[in-house]
Symmetry: C2
Subunit: 476 residues, 2 copies
């Protein structure tokens, strides 16, 4: 196994894999397309879960659990849905030593099984809205997989809601997009552009799909979360009606929305550097690591005692660890904790002890500062806030610098080929232009932004009038 | 749908299902053998998860995630393991529209895939102990299923640890059994007997299995959690060795341990009554429900304001809800919240308001008491503690009253047939006697208790000398 981490400038894709393997976030498994999420990676998922789950509950959603296996015939009830998902399904044909009468697919997403249950539970307007979320694993057979970004099995949450009116469903769809944006920006420190997907890119079975789109350091976009307005498509497929306040039967309106372990890939590729992972403090399972610098065999106890006093003074919500292992050098430990992305390192050697101070090192900028012992508590709190803000600002600046307004197709093609990033260009709305752009450049429509500038112009490809300046990019 | 809940004395099994359906804990799904866990049931699982996860972390374990799908050949590497689990497996034969070269089974438990990874991660004694836990779904094809107790798919946690010595592995196995006992008794208020399984009843692939056994209200036992000392069986099967401190290669020692959604079944059958669910306060997602008693159209606002003041005075960790729905009568609400098992109900009517007091009703004993407004905060806290203790004591008393010391086989058979419960009897240790008892009575050895009385006697069946008085029962 090679020792270092490939430089980003050398090979971004290898850098990404190196960081994951060296920081022990995940590992390849012997099962094709499936990964193992190791404790360091799973701790990031637990952080994600805790924030998202809190926000889901604050907006009135409850968690539930539906079966992993779905009868094949259920998928077929919604025409677009089966067309989109059937080719990616894993199929169970045998159970308990016998061939099954009807094959079962492993859920690629749960709309069908959930709407089969909603039919049992929804009778009247009093049963609405029904606001459900599920934390689970799903499976989509993938040809080309990549740790966290695209794996055959992945972990996610999928929200599924039922409403009495189209307006309520649309409101819910946008509300949950907003929750995802809040999580991405305020916790993961990843700036995102919220917008609508083109019809070509929407969820199979949706009226329309909203997305948040982020930009990675290699100039490729990443879809970080999606929220779908499903209209009455699934209610129609599963015959789910309710009696309204006038006693009449109406079809129910639906939404679904999901965010997955893919987001951990976004976290790595937004903030990481050539030394490894860089974690925004709100996502870091460990905020501060203390490293004693032992010189010779004497005085270890005093240094550790000094560190313990400081550690004990920190606010209760600041997770910390003292790395007092004797078998590793301080330099080795610096590397290890940098690689793991811990936001702050505190070093204490014999001279620091004598002077009653410590050395504090930021992971993001690698700046060092000497600090008196009694200032540490306050300074750490301050620094964590500062790192959180500064990582977001840095990523936002990167995105701004890599978003190009383009008005002619020649430039468009050059920018995609040479520098990547977001292309902010007009589009006439015709799927043919969308397909042509994709064929020529591999760039796709990432989203039609919600906060559009409503700027009249002409389609960057065909030159027809267009009221929408939208975002194109090559994407993960 | 019939309205009431069947009485326990009438049909315990129907009572159990009625409680689950009426309290909306779970529902049948259209997928054979699989259930849907509804929000009220899932909230109990979340409570379980939070306590167990905390205890796992306190004892040094980290969470990780391994693939759902396991190559069939992996299962075959441990002879007893494959014999035990292969007949229960669901098999994936097709993925992405193609037939797979090697079928994949859906994990019935994860020893094999985890030990395939441990082989990559364990090199030296420095990598040990390795203490991993996984929260996930598993699948075991079941012929006769029952909500929560036995379903084809279920949710659980499975701990998997690797150790340098046999002693350490045994210590870990017992430590985790102890964690399960603590959870069962201190949180779920279910008294359990910790003990060892007979060889016939141990986990497929284990050296030996420890269990905690609970007694349900119908006199049947329920295995509530198990912890296995796997010895070197899986290390041998997957060739996992480590270099010890003397530079020699040694096989690694293993444990695994699991607790599942089955525990929710135990919770229902231990504490429930003819009105529905009864929840120990530490497991209750909702501790207190306030119900205003409106008389006529006037004065609703004053009552709600009075309730809000009291609710706001409660300690922050006491979850509460005001059920102010106008479309339901107080009596209807009493039934609904009793069925749901909420530990305390607080009623406030116009007369209470005038006298500055409330009526407090315990769910477990259904005792009512009038209470001055300014005493509520303190009394609720006290009552919750009292209910928690009293439910445990009641269940313990029930178990004591339904545990019979038996020294002859005639009585043994009569007790099993007529009253059930635990039979505390001597056993010679011969599997033949074990089989005969099972055949004659359907009772099985539940466990050989850890705190044995070391009482010499003779086997209740064959009359040979026996040093162990152990527990038999019919079981779920």
């Amino acid at each position: 196994m090679k020792k270092g981490i490939t430089k980003r400038s050398e090979d971004f894709s290898r850098w990404y894999t190196d960081v994951i393997i060296k920081a022990r976030l995940a590992d390849y498994s012997p099962v094709k397309g499936c990964m193992v999420i190791r404790p360091n990676g799973y701790a990031l998922w637990e952080k994600m879960q805790s924030y998202l789950d809190m926000m889901f509950k604050e907006t009135g959603h409850e968690n539930a659990y539906f079966p992993l296996l779905i009868p094949e015939s259920f998928l077929e009830k919604e025409a677009e849905h089966v067309e989109g998902f059937a080719p990616e399904c894993a199929v169970v044909t045998h159970g308990g030593g016998k061939k099954l009468e009807e094959p079962l697919v492993i859920r690629p997403t749960s709309e069908t099984i959930i709407w089969a249950m909603f039919k049992k539970w929804i009778m009247s307007y009093r049963d609405l809205p029904l606001l459900i979320n599920q934390w689970c694993n799903v499976l989509r057979w993938e040809m080309r997989t990549r740790l966290f970004l695209r794996t055959t099995e992945f972990l996610w949450q999928e929200g599924h809601t039922a409403h009495a009116t189209a307006e309520e469903a649309e409101e819910e769809t946008l509300q949950m997009l907003n929750v995802y944006q809040t999580f991405a920006q305020e916790y993961a420190a990843i700036p995102v552009i919220p917008g609508r997907k083109s019809d070509r890119e929407k969820f199979a079975g949706a009226l329309h799909t909203y997305t948040i789109e982020a930009l990675m350091q290699d100039g490729k976009a990443l879809q970080a979360g999606t929220s779908h307005n499903l209209g009455q498509n699934f209610a129609r497929a599963f015959d789910v009606t309710f009696q309204d306040q006038n006693g009449e039967q109406q079809l129910v309106y639906a939404t679904s929305w999901g965010m997955s372990t893919r987001m951990i890939g976004a976290l790595i590729m937004t903030h990481g550097d050539d030394q490894g992972l860089v974690l925004p403090p709100k996502m870091a399972p460990l905020s501060v690591v203390f490293i004693p610098i032992f010189k010779g065999k004497e005085g270890h106890g005093e240094i550790l005692e000094f560190i313990d006093q400081i550690a004990a003074s920190l606010d209760g919500d600041i997770t910390h660890r003292v790395d007092a292992r004797e078998e590793y050098t301080p330099g080795w430990k610096f590397n290890e904790w940098e690689r793991a992305g811990v936001p702050i390192r505190v070093e204490v050697g014999p001279r620091d002890l004598k002077q009653g101070e410590v050395v504090v090192v930021r992971r993001d900028t690698r700046e060092k500062a000497n600090l008196a012992k009694d200032k540490v508590k306050e300074k750490i709190r301050e620094l964590l806030d500062e790192i959180q803000t500064s990582l977001f600002q840095r990523a936002l600046r990167f995105r701004q610098e890599n978003t190009m307004r383009v008005d002619d197709y020649q430039t468009f093609r050059e920018v995609v080929a040479e520098q990547g990033g977001f292309l902010h260009a007009n589009w006439c709305g015709d799927p043919k232009c969308e397909d042509q752009v994709k064929q020529d450049t591999k760039a796709t429509i990432r989203c039609i932004p919600i906060e559009s500038e409503d700027e009249d112009g002409v389609c960057v490809l065909c030159g027809k009038p267009s009221g929408d300046r939208i975002y194109f990019a090559k994407a993960y």
